[in-house]
Each structure stands twice: as C-alpha cells, then as structure tokens.
Symmetry: C2
Subunit: 251 residues, 2 copies
Amino acid sequence: MQMLKNAMADSKNVDQRRATGGPLQPLLRARPFTPGDGNMVQLLTDQQQAELGTIATEVRLRARASIYTADSVAASIYIVQTGLVKVSQHLPSGREQVLAFLFPGDMFGLVENGRYLNSVATLTQTTIYRIPIDALTEMFRRDGDLELQFLYKVTHELGEAQRRETIVTRRDAVGRVVMFLQMLERRNGNNSACIEIPMSRTDVARYLGLSAEAVSRAITQLRRDEIVSFPNLHVARILNRPRFDQIAVAM
Amino acid sequence: MQMLKNAMADSKNVDQRRATGGPLQPLLRARPFTPGDGNMVQLLTDQQQAELGTIATEVRLRARASIYTADSVAASIYIVQTGLVKVSQHLPSGREQVLAFLFPGDMFGLVENGRYLNSVATLTQTTIYRIPIDALTEMFRRDGDLELQFLYKVTHELGEAQRRETIVTRRDAVGRVVMFLQMLERRNGNNSACIEIPMSRTDVARYLGLSAEAVSRAITQLRRDEIVSFPNLHVARILNRPRFDQIAVAM
DNA sequence: CGGGACATTGAAACGTCTCAAACGATGTGG
DNA sequence: CCACATCGTTTGAGACGTTTCAATGTCCCG
C-alpha cells in the first residue's frame, strides 16, 4: 500500500481514482504467436477481465500529466483504457527521447530490478488501469492462460520496438516521417486516406530522433510534392499513395 | 514434424543434431521484476531445465550459418548455449540492419502471425537449443513458473531494445562506438579494462546504424586521443576511463 | 603462399543540426 | 470576452558530421 503511494508520488495530476470491482472494459490487445484468424487481436476472455478487475484500479488523468518517472520504485503495471500516453527517456543532456506512443489496449510499466526503466506521461486526458505487480504475479500462478496473454503482449511490444529502430535508422527525415504516418495509419482506423496525428510536432520529432525543424521541413516537402496534404496540425491526408508507399519502402 | 523441417529449410549448415533428453546445461538468463539479490540473474530450477530438456533439441552450427530468415514459418524458439549469433533485418535496399548480438543464455525466435519477424545467423561456431513453440506453450499451461521466467526474459529483451534505440539515436559516431563498447563490457566479464569484440567491424557498423568507414574513423579517433587502445581487431583496452565514461554519458 | 574479404584512410557531396527570427496557436488573467 | 504572454510551429542561412566513392593496406582462410 505504501509502495502504491510511492509509485504515484510525482503525479498530483490525478483527477479521480476508484477501484473497478467490475471487469475491465475493453482490453489488453494481445496477438498469439500462431496465425489465428488473420490480423484479429485476441482479447481477454470475460472471465479474465473479471479477474483483472478485482485487482485493477481505474485512474483518470488530465493531459500532460506524469504517471511515473524513470528509476522510481515500481509497484504496478498499467493498461491504457482511453486517451494517449507517451513513454520516454530523459537523457543527461536534457534531451527527451520518446520511445513509444501508447493507445487504448496498450500496456506499460517496464521494470528492471524493481524500478521503472523510463518515464511515462499522458498527452491527452487519459484513463488507465493500474495493476499491482505482486497481485498480478500471484494471479499468473493460478491462471497460466492469462499469463500467456501478457507474454504475447510483451512479445508484440518487442516487435514494435524493433520496428521503431528500423525507422530511426533511416537518415532522411522525409522517409522517417512517412514511415511514422504509415504506422499511425495501421494503428488507428485504416478507413479513408485520413490519418489522425494526435501528438505534437515536437513529440513526433523526439520519437523520430530528429529536430523539430527537420520534421517541419519534411512535412513541408511532402506538401510541396503533393504527396500528403495537412488540413491542420493533427490531420494528414495522403494524396499520392504510390509515391507515399514508394518512399516508405525505399530504404 | 514437418514444420520443424520447414523452419530449418535454409540451413544446410547443421553440423549435428540430437535430442538432449537430459536437462538443458546452462540456462536462460532471466531477471525477475522484483529486485532480488542485486544483479544476479535467476536461472531456471533444475526441474525446469529437465522439463525443457524433454522437448528441446540441441543443434550445432558452424560460423556464418543461417538459422532462419524473416517471414519463414515459425515453429520453434531458440536459446543460445555457446557461441555468438546476430539478429538482423534485411531492408529492401539490400542493407542489413543488425538488431542484436546474442550471447549464451539469450533467447531468440520473435514471432508474429506464425512467422519470424527477422533473420538470425551465427557469427561463430554455435550450439543452440531448439524448442518447439506448441510444446512450449503446452508446457506453459502446466508450469506457470516456467512461463514467468520466459516473461521475465522477453521483458528484459524489450529493455535491451530500448537501450539500443538510445544508442542509435546519437548522431556522433564516437559516442555510439563508446556506448557499444560499454555494452560489451557489461555483457561479458567486467574484469580488467579489456573488452572483447567478437564481431566484425562491419557488423558493429550495421548494429550502430553507421557506415563501416564511420566506425573505423571513430575508433581511430579514440586511439589518437589515447582514450582506448586496440591491440588487435577484437580487443579493446580502455586507457582513460574518466574521458571514456564522459563520452558515454554526454548525450 | 595466394586470394578474397575485411579494415583503414582520403576527398567531395549531401543532409541534418544549430542558431535566429517570424508566425501561429493556446490558455490564462484582467 | 478580449488581450496578452507563452509555447509550439515554420522558414532561412551557415556549420558540422556522416555518407559515398575510390584506393590502399591488412587480416584470415583455404
């Protein structure tokens, strides 16, 4: 109990908090190793969600609130219910490196030696489930199937991390931005050629390992070449799909 | 059985293969979430190693042999017993991106939708354990504790992937090489100031996201500044530890 | 001992980073 | 409700560092 308070020490940003009691509403998007039915994500069974509900706490946070910082004592892992959060690392120089943007159904709380490896903060108003690690570990002991779902999830995260590495390894800013847009498109709805960009340009830059100026110039170039239009700061529309895909693949 | 043959289709490089029957010799280096006793890695219990031994196959491979390639049908995961292997991704341009170097005790075989996400090949003569995924999954169902060890392992891999991302995000070649040497030092023995570099310069470059020339120039500079000496291609000796650490941290 | 792959070194070109300034959006207090 | 301060975005010009291309030197294996 004390550790829980410790973990949330740096967030006076909590608007509300209550035990769920009931089953977890949507999620934990996990993908089994075996093919299964195409790209469908396998959700937890109702029973498993009910199980998790008994130990999970629902937390509502406002935008730009810190959930935890690196090196703080870890007592819980988290699942995003609604909203958008970013996982980042603060380098000695003061630079911030964004490692991931997390959407509903995504999990976070990477721990090593009892401490969090990176910092997590909300970008929009967000609701998360907090699950104590010790209670979860205990639950794993009883329900190997639930544990397997988490293993799938972490494995998928590892694949995502590698995908980001591939993006960041590119040297040209335009290529990185295109691959980033492609990633957002896959993540969100793939309906129409409209892509929502819920985060700021600065955060995109910190994710792509570029300066904010480089991201801005890349976007300008995509607009000039009439490959992508940007109706406003948070929407992209692909005008020339062939050339768009061609840039993404050319690496 | 057929899938197994499939998974090894591209390696006519197998020198030998036999069912272990007995317990797995060393390993699977896993680290629990909770602190435990310092940095000690928690190994599998004798019983768990014996369990794995019943489904694992020992495979001996010569240097520069392909274990599997990306997109091939996945039936097994692997654990390195002895030797050194690299995990990589072949980009459309023909470039190779090295995602990880794996040492004894490390696990590989990242799968999505029933297919491997990347390619794995040996660098030196290597012995690996091959473990069929379906048999392993079945074993997880019976032994939640074993499954937990794997969850720890994958989680740790995720942390490693993030660490690499941090390295690659640096723009200066010298900084990347220094952080790479630091990583090798932590991995292998930390005795004396001697660091073994078991892989080629080319592979180091592909891991760091640099050209081979840039790596060479960075090493030359470290040598000129008398921060690190390189007695031969595969050994580094740190001469000026303060400046070495200073470069590593300065980001 | 020879051949081939790997590693080093040099010079020019390319692209991002940095610094600087103007513009636009946002949210708070008067 | 508006004004204003602040932050984020865009655009420009120069400097820096890696990439590329080319040639030489070195190591390792057959």
